[in-house]
Amino acid sequence: MAADTAVTSSPEETLASLVKEAEALKQKLEEERQKLNDVTLSCVAERLEPITISNLKVRRILKGHQAKVLCCDWSPDKRHIVSSSQDGKLIVWDAFTTSKELTISMPSTWVMACAYAPSGNMLAAGGLDNKVTVFPLGGTAGEEDGATRKRTVATHTSYMSCCLFPNTDRQMLTGSGDGTCALWDIESGQLLQSFQGHSADVMSLDLAPSEMGDTFVSGGCDRGVLVWDMRSGHAVQAFDTHLSDVNSVRFHPAGDAVASGSDDSTCRLFDLRADREIARYSKESIIFGANAVEWSVSGRLLFAGYGDYTACAWDALRATRLALLPGHEHRLSALRLAPDGTALATASWDATLRIWA
């Protein structure tokens, strides 16, 4: 097939032939997707029993940041949370007791991303410094201890908006305002693979839940959601139905679908195998952007955090709103489910984090 030999370009390829082929391919793509669009999710879901959630409320409030909380992540021990803030601080919380266990000062303000390593023994964070800095935890515990053994791993040419450990303590995946995603070796700090495809800032990343872990998804200010093959470095799928910046992307726990939250005030569900959008979560009363999305353990509930200071829970199948989660006093910036699914952490520009259970 032509696709296999694409890399070795023939001398006969002219700009005209390439443009013509691109247009034909676009049309073919749309036709193929439409052909397989035999039912809608909402139609299937109507036959399912409606669900209700009643007991979800704020159980803890984590106070201590001096400015907007921009990101958070749970430790694999299901008890600790790391958060990063505009104030330039990284804080490790004991979510059970709400106490601060560790505070690390970062080299710049606007620490937009932070992550726990799968082992729980390392933290990564960065933002306006265009870098990811990794902090080993444990050993001799104490304030600022990690800061003395920190290491710079990744450097972008613009701000670092999101980062994650791809199922290993040895590598780091980052997304940046320079429009690229990149895979780094933590030990050597070397760039292993660069992922180029977004035409504007990358805002969010998520790794496919499969053990293989060689697929990830990204969302960006070009309104696009891209699915990547980590080994080849190529984008294998693109979803471009959002009308504005995509702020957040999250794999459905089943692994074959991705939820996204956008400044167009909708959340959407894209199925990778059907290669199309299969659900849209929106309401007339929701007019602010969706800044963060997160799934419950079963993938029945889709949580979304908005610019209107609220979060909410959607029935992912029936695309109806089940619960409004008010309480924050500024826009929501990040949502994270505890690893065992018992609680949802929300981070906000009101400088607090809240734990819902």
Binding site: V19, E32, V39, Q237, D256, I278, V297, T342
Partner: protein
């Protein structure tokens, strides 16, 4: 230079016309032949990567939405009972974030 331009005479579609216009403009403002050539080569490369990307996207296998949705629904029903935020906790004692009783931990 002329041969390169001639090859572009065959360009069709608005995008190609626009590119041609840009190239002509570059010549008119006095850019050297090599600079113009570089521009054309990089435009060609850019379009090639766009088309290659579409080839990859077009080559993937797809399944009907009904099958994809059925699989999602099955996954959810298999895991619904483990979903504490959906079905609640068997007892509030199991909830690690339950409100503590009146005595506080020192």
């Amino acid at each position: 230079m002329n041969t390169l331009l001639e090859r572009h005479q065959g360009c069709s579609g608005g995008y190609a016309l626009l590119l041609e216009y840009v190239v002509c403009l570059a010549i008119n403002i006095g850019l050297s032949d090599t600079a113009v050539m570089d521009m054309m080569v990089s435009t060609l490369q850019q379009q090639r990567s766009v088309t290659e990307q579409l080839r990859r996207e077009a080559a993937i296998k797809r399944i009907p939405v009904s099958v994809a949705v059925a699989d999602i629904v099955r996954f959810i029903s298999e895991h619904e009972q483990e979903d504490c935020l959906l079905v609640g906790f068997t007892s509030q004692k199991v909830n690690p974030f339950r409100e503590k009783s009146s005595c506080t931990v020192l």
